[in-house]
Symmetry: C2
Subunit: 698 residues, 2 copies
Amino acid sequence: MIRFFARSAPVLAIALWLLAAGASAAASAPAPPRAEGVLDLMPVPASVTVREGRFRVDERLTIVRPDEAGPKDAPKDRAFRAAARFMTRLAGRTGLFLEQDFLASQKAAVGDGIRYTFARPGRLLPNEDESYTLTVEPAGIVLGAGTDIGVLRGFETLLQLLSADEKGYYFPCVLITDKPRFTWRGLLIDVGRHFHPVDVIKRNLDAMAAVKMNVLHLHLTEDQGFRVESRVFPRLHELGSDGMFFTQPQIRDIIEYAGDRGIRVMPEFDIPGHSTSWFVAYPEYASAPGPYAIERKFGVFGPAFDPSNERIYPFFDAFFKEMAGLFPDPYLHIGGDEVEGHQWDANPAIQAFKTKHGLADNNALQAYFNSRLLKILTKHGKKMVGWDEIFQPGLPKDIVIQSWRGPQSLVDAARQGFQGILSNGYYIDLCQPAETHYLNDPVPAGSPLDEGQKALVLGGEATMWAELVTPETIDSRIWPRTAAIAERFWSPASVRNVEDMYRRLGPMSLALEELGLLHIKNVDMILRRLAGRPGVKPLKVLAEAVEPLENYQRHGQARYTSLSPFTRFVDACAPESPAARRFGILVDRFLAGKDLVAGHELRTVLVRWKDNHAPVLALLAASPALREVEPLSRNLARACEAGLEALGCLEKGESRPAAWAEERACLLVEAAKPAAHAELVVVKAIGRLVEACAGGPK
Amino acid sequence: MIRFFARSAPVLAIALWLLAAGASAAASAPAPPRAEGVLDLMPVPASVTVREGRFRVDERLTIVRPDEAGPKDAPKDRAFRAAARFMTRLAGRTGLFLEQDFLASQKAAVGDGIRYTFARPGRLLPNEDESYTLTVEPAGIVLGAGTDIGVLRGFETLLQLLSADEKGYYFPCVLITDKPRFTWRGLLIDVGRHFHPVDVIKRNLDAMAAVKMNVLHLHLTEDQGFRVESRVFPRLHELGSDGMFFTQPQIRDIIEYAGDRGIRVMPEFDIPGHSTSWFVAYPEYASAPGPYAIERKFGVFGPAFDPSNERIYPFFDAFFKEMAGLFPDPYLHIGGDEVEGHQWDANPAIQAFKTKHGLADNNALQAYFNSRLLKILTKHGKKMVGWDEIFQPGLPKDIVIQSWRGPQSLVDAARQGFQGILSNGYYIDLCQPAETHYLNDPVPAGSPLDEGQKALVLGGEATMWAELVTPETIDSRIWPRTAAIAERFWSPASVRNVEDMYRRLGPMSLALEELGLLHIKNVDMILRRLAGRPGVKPLKVLAEAVEPLENYQRHGQARYTSLSPFTRFVDACAPESPAARRFGILVDRFLAGKDLVAGHELRTVLVRWKDNHAPVLALLAASPALREVEPLSRNLARACEAGLEALGCLEKGESRPAAWAEERACLLVEAAKPAAHAELVVVKAIGRLVEACAGGPK
């Protein structure tokens, strides 16, 4: 297979890379079991039975609340408000002028309609009952749950059932019984490295609710910013935030908004490292003399609290007392990750302290720090959560370990009886495909844990680290991929069909727009600003074939800081291009069976991309900010030319000599190189086409 | 000219209508003085001198603050923060990684850069100095002003100067001296009829600042909602808002955000009418017995405060004391419009009160009410503002009359020494063309006022009444048309070239997007939701030819309430379609001189619209909510067929018999009828084409 590349090592490497890429894409693209009437539910419920019949949606639709409570009680009634939001979104999608005043009353004018019931108000705690049963019959819909939180989850499912036929809108008749697999289904938003104001948080809370997530983890402090108002120590936010922080009323607003959607808000104050912004106000608490300035660059930095400084503990006592009052969640996250220890090593007083207290190394010093913090948190009624590094023997069993380094730490913790949540594998800032996250399981099939230990794995969290995102782009880095992660956390472990996940991810992405998310619509906006004109079609066509560099590669392309513009072409590119993904599938389908239909579509796409270069050049001429994409566009055109040659050759059943293939492989290697902080992700699939028609006479 | 239509009266009416429309379009479309290098500034400054040379923008650009104040003083420094926002937007547009840490310091690394200076902090009051001088030279830029508010205005101008050539970005060398023509340049946002939360207000404040507006008028109470938290009378917002109101911290946040942009916030509490939502909590203050419920419908309603009820005055005293503390602006608007008086007439006690106090009619009763209110406002340090209806002899000279009924009331007021602001003619909710508002002048050329009286006209306000808008659509009803109004208020009276205004309005509209406005991007979102799929091109093509019904016609199409969906096709259509406007201009250009280029473009557009019907039908099949647009699409196709016939005939220098024209005129009349609450606005121009080739042998 790779014979024709064997002459030089680099070319061989390319060939292996092409092969590996091809194999991987083929493995990830089994033909999905696609049938008429398949539902688009996401996350997939625990049990769905589709029945005959349709419940018709028209203007007379009413929603019936469980009791006779009047509008005066409405402000306290979470399910009532969720029902009103449901009706608003339903009206929005259908354009129907619903007759019921669903804000003021939820009584049926006639017998038909939607009835919801629940046994008691749900509490915002882990292991709360979120189950529900949804019965759609032609004559009416009943949504029943143990708690009002279950009702909220059920309304999201019902809205996803909305369908249309020639007569109008309807809900298909179903019986759904549903409950989550994991009780901790979180999204971390890092407001430290880039601040994200209340409206960003609120629209993401709405999106979380739409996919049944239930924990918003606010990463509130970082080297780059201290993002919450402290009234006890106001210099913290005054000097550490550039004026970009949540006021306490805003925090309360966020918590209320989240609670109304059945979502907990867990704050994180990352200490003892990641703490430069604290030291702008309080350099005396650091392990090295100041002064300190808010960090602008990204990475792991030296500044850390000085555990040997006895004055920091009353400070944390007062600070966490204040924060414990502000955040009602029983859990409080103290970070604890990536303490480099350089400041500790360089400070003789700290070294003496370690010796005096028999602390063998910096890990032991951090454990000492944590044990002091634990007392403070316990005093203020909070359970401690921290990253892998905080795990140490002797901690109480109600703490939670959040794993960023790998699933093994969860296994280790569970074996010793500790609870854990998984974030390793859910780093959505790395711009990996949804599939990667989707197949990552907090308790994978081969887990060595017993059932009791498995139960200690509470769930997981997607983590939106914010080095490279702003309020303009953050939605596109979170959504729609996080919907796939939400499904991993909610749906049965057996729900793992990647193609079916992607089939449902498309409609889900569109549905998220009604909640105000900007993940789709800001693409055009960014491109319009770059081009300085309303028409940006060529850039959109180019973006089909381009994705931002994955993992941490982008940091190698420029010295990014928190002040850098995130308004370039790469920032308009989706982390995962559906068009590029489809292209890869088409190539495999075509190569697997010389599928003529696939070949025809491939040709159309290749021609579109190839012919796109000239219009792109016309746009670049007027926009210096766009000129960096010229190599991407040029290389795409060249790669597509090679792809078209190969396609023509394969369609005719011909092959090409090795030299031809080698030349094109070199061209493709060039085309695959990063440019404008992004990469042409369709080159690998084009390489498979080229490879397939190689091997003719030398 | 109209001979061939003479046979029947209806057809004659059409002909006259076609003629009138044609004449109007022709009058509004003089060929603009278009030259290379014309600046896109909006509003046009008082004086601009363009010079040779360019100031190059690169990563080394620095901005230099006027004094040596360190970062610790930054939170109090409005100009500093404006400079930082300027740098952020500049980086966003250019993609440049600026080297200066513009959040922390604004000192020049080298000599070159942008320097700003001002004499003193500006006060948020009418008649404050907002002037500035901007000098761009190849070696540096100097922005000088009397107040920091002037600096803010100058930064907006500078950003609008950003240009690009083959070498990169630059500012052209200019000398600009600028100041506003009117001191009161407002935008009213009605948060009563539909609530618009903080993020909507903030992004619109950013947009206002971009076009140098300086008053946000918040219409906080209406029949449909009481939208501000009262801690003195919490039942007002608790029962009167459906939970949709601004908390007091949110109000303070808005005021601070506005002040940071040199914008005053004036609250309006509309009394004694438009007050149903107050009476949900306090039915005893109404002029008829309750109970009352929040009004859902739109219109002018009966409920009004009872001026004869002595208990309302202590209530207002306590309420306005609270609100006077919350809102620092010296002006407080008491509404006063559209008191129907039905409740007053039906209440014997009120009739007796009128008799007792010698109040001849309901106007006199309202004047009595206002005089009591005036005492209360004065006591709490506020000057009274109200709609036309509050004007009465004997008021103090520091009140302000806001004219909604017509400019005559401003003339009347000024002649008696009273200040006024104009809103008549700036009702942006009516979906009229920007031109209409642009040519409406608070002090028109023929004003009968003397110079002293003219000075009493402080300016004007665009009014965004919110019957038919939601947070999703409100931006598209405000922008970009309000930029034309902002220019009317800021620029010299002589700046009246409509074509040049439209030329600059396009780039202005794009520039507003960087501030988070949704006026462009939500069009696609609404259409995607309706279609249930990502590709909506046919709907966008249709929308080119369609506008929402103007004025109050939409209310005649359906029983709109505050709960109705505003998510239909009409809600995605811009109040003024640039494509339709251009089409009308092309028709006139073609007809004026048989311009072949215009004819070619006309043909392209007509064919695109005609061929669009089949793709639209394909989308409608899957979307019941879209089916209402079928007549629009069908009629557009038919009208374009007629237009193409006429165009072909005219290009060949032929004419068509009267019967042919009459038949097409009837077709066009049909096509011009409202459908889906919208109308085909290109039909008139097509009618001019048809008319022009009519008149051949009978």
